[in-house]
Symmetry: C2
Subunit: 469 residues, 2 copies
């Protein structure tokens, strides 16, 4: 059975109304300009009884004054006006409403009453609502968004992100380019009078552009429905969750932030384990895991290898891997020979494979990736910054020392292959350029271990499901 | 009793011999050029029987051919020549020998025998030796180093770093500028035939330029002596250690890397706790803690506050703080009133202090820092990238939204104050420029909690010692 999707009008609207458009700075002025800049000028209808023209576009007094069809409305009016505007949206048959206005249940009883009034209005209708108290969504594939972001920076891709608060969603979007995250869409769900995290899980579960789902959660709106959705969707796509509000202090902070009830963390933990959901333990790890799952194949066994020019960093990776239960087996005879035959006498051909200054990084990396026993490889190329800088500046091709990452990776596309590096800015940028397109960058040796572990466990989970069917 | 120091000649040599200097690329050519570039030309004596002139300097056949005094020798000859060269160093009365040559005990029995021969040579003499199998040290204060680094990038400061392998030391030095780490010195101790981690702990313990000591350790050369040194030095300065080789796999990797015996991790853990040593749990945390201890005062109590414009990030910090046992108390009446009097109705004046888009970040930050109950503050300024970019580009001073971090910090110099941010590159750079000089940057909300905890626990430790005396 396919998962229920949200109306396409949320992500690829034909005609968009911005209700509360203004000439002033802020959301009211920013969003119309942003949409126009991104090619939505001809399909953009602005509504505000006190304006006549904004950004060269006519301004309508009411939504119902617009003659054509409107499938998506972005509401940014003051909260007391929202019920009337929402009625207009219903009258107009708008399928997708993005309600950004804040000041509802998150501020106390008065706001809660108003929020409930709006909730009642939409019940039983064909109109779906995202918000209030959010910034809606962005869809980088079509450069559509209900919040201003820089689509020249944010990359379209296959990661669907579900956030709750608007600021958090915005900064995640802003951060994503430097984190090498390419997004199918990012949605902030706010106070969830209608669309909630469960709807979003199902939506991204069904969305063909989304391969990985990322969710930041303080507390589920409906715990039972959330668990059902997460369980069902995790069976078909990786679902990576950062659940905060784990502790008493965190719960208290979450309650005053989004009014979320964070629930018992031990229950969530047990549920995540059983249902194949990948749990990130912190913010950076959430994005590392998202990046890895969005680019790498799952891992077919627990055994990994590290190829490095820093023994120390390999020891850190080995510690982290061991703690998670991954294996670091001896390399196969063929692998050892492939490297040994070219290696200087001092070089230990072992796992981890520390090539030191032998110049055999590429050789070792290819051999390890093609070792039958090894199911995932972490490359840790490091080199003193002044050495590599003067080499490159004098015209040397770094491939002489590191091989050609593209062709090396092509010999083993079915195994996850990560790359970590550290050092001067010159070097880390070079690694990003050289390895980044072919090996997935990871932010620490520890996180690399965590990512391999998650790729392996999720594959086990998928295999288990297959066998049950 | 003062701690024993290494000869000053290691860090501020008067006359330096480079034995094994060459015209070729690599260490032999690089180090003489590097020292000359950094102003050591007139005090630099090159030795190599097969050369006559390098970098415009005369080359001596043997160290003993040099007429003047030599207090520091850097040895980069092939390993079989090392015993003869070392004899020359002894004859010449060189106080400080940096032996960079590799190929000794780390490569097997033959190398171990040679290493032992050298060890015997130096025993009972006044010559101290760092190495072999290392790159020696760097001292950014005097732009002296036995390995090529970029002293235009690496900042002189108060953090003393002890590393074992050369590559690791080099990449840490390369990384330090982007990590905002300012170094008193960085020493790689290699195979430790003489100077080891305990000597270095004592040395940095006595060094007036060093306020914080950072040690990456796979295994101590002499466990009992190391514990004694760490215990004694931690009583006077913070000692931050990343101990790897914690697990079976890590130990195995460490043994093949540096021949270190990593020992029982539980014993180390217990020892660190008792003796006030700060243990970092990973590579990034090691540098975060070093940066914080090098810049911030210790924390006088367990209670912290977070001032933020992202509730989500505050929840993450609260979770991490609670898990460590820190407190997140309600703010004092005065603090609440100072903020409340200027705050919009929707704003929750609580701890964490989420100022949202109120523009009161600076007001709230100052109030929290000056709250008597609060002993440490984490600032988390975040804002959608497009908003701040267009504001700044249209000439707005960000201080209108965030206050003046310099004057705010000056109101509470005695409390640790950290700053974390995330988002677009434009924004994170702005935060670094605005807050970075006055608040210490931290790499995650979790690490902020860990840093506060370490500052608090170390203060407790110091108080306990004081009371015992």
């Amino acid at each position: 059975m396919p998962f229920p999707s949200l109306p396409d009008a949320f992500f690829r609207p034909r005609n968009i109304a911005v209700i509360g458009a203004t000439k002033k700075a802020g959301f009211g002025g920013g969003i119309p300009a942003f949409l126009k800049r991104n090619g939505y000028g001809e399909r953009l209808f602005l509504v505000n009884p006190r304006e006549t023209e904004i950004e060269g576009l006519p301004v309508y007094r009411r939504l119902t004054d617009i003659t054509g069809n409107i499938d998506c409305a972005i509401i940014i009016v003051p909260k007391m006006q929202v019920p009337a505007i929402m009625k207009d949206c219903l009258d107009k048959g708008v399928r997708a409403v993005i309600l950004e206005t804040a000041g509802f249940s998150e501020t106390g009883d008065e706001g809660r009453t108003l929020e409930n009034d709006i909730k009642e209005l939409i019940q039983g209708t064909h109109t779906r609502v995202i918000g209030p108290n959010c910034v809606g969504l962005i869809n980088p594939h079509d450069r559509f968004g209900s919040t201003e972001v820089d689509f020249d920076e944010i990359r379209p891709g296959n990661i669907g992100v579900i956030a709750q608060s608007g600021v958090f969603g915005n900064i995640v979007a802003d951060w994503s380019p430097s984190q090498d995250m390419a997004l199918s869409a990012l949605v902030t769900i706010g106070n969830r009078i209608d669309v909630d995290e469960s709807d979003m899980l199902y939506h991204f579960g069904a969305d063909t552009k989304t391969d990985v789902i990322v969710l930041y959660l303080e507390g589920a709106k409906d715990g039972m429905r959330f668990m059902k959705a997460a369980r069902e969707v995790a069976r078909v796509k990786p679902v990576i969750i950062l659940k905060s509000g784990r502790t008493e202090m965190g719960k208290k902070a979450a309650a005053s932030h989004t009014g979320s009830m964070s629930g018992d963390d031990a229950l969530y933990e047990a549920f995540f384990r059983q249902s194949g959901v990948v749990r990130a333990s912190n913010f950076q790890e959430l994005f590392d895991l998202a990046r890895v799952f969005s680019r790498e194949p799952l891992m077919e066994g627990p055994d990994i290898s590290v190829v490095t020019s820093s023994g120390s960093l390999a020891v850190m990776a080995a510690d982290a891997a061991h703690q998670l239960g991954l294996g670091f087996p001896d390399l196969g005879q063929e692998t050892v020979e492939a490297v040994r035959s070219r290696a200087p006498a001092w070089m230990n051909v072992k796992n981890p494979l520390d090539v030191g200054p032998s110049g055999l990084f590429g050789t070792a990396l290819k051999a390890a990736l093609n070792d039958e026993k090894i199911k995932g490889v972490l490359a840790i190329p490091v080199i003193p910054g002044t050495i590599i800088k003067s080499m490159v500046e004098s015209g040397m091709d770094p491939a002489l020392l590191y091989g050609d990452p593209e062709s090396i990776r092509k010999t083993a596309p079915g195994k996850p292959a990560l790359v970590y590096s550290v050092g001067s800015e010159f070097w880390t940028k070079l690694v990003k350029d050289m390895f980044g397109p072919h090996f997935t960058l990871i932010s620490s040796p520890d996180t690399a271990a965590k990512a391999f572990f998650a790729l392996y466990k999720y594959r086990q989970f998928r295999e288990k499901i297959k066998n049950e069917q």
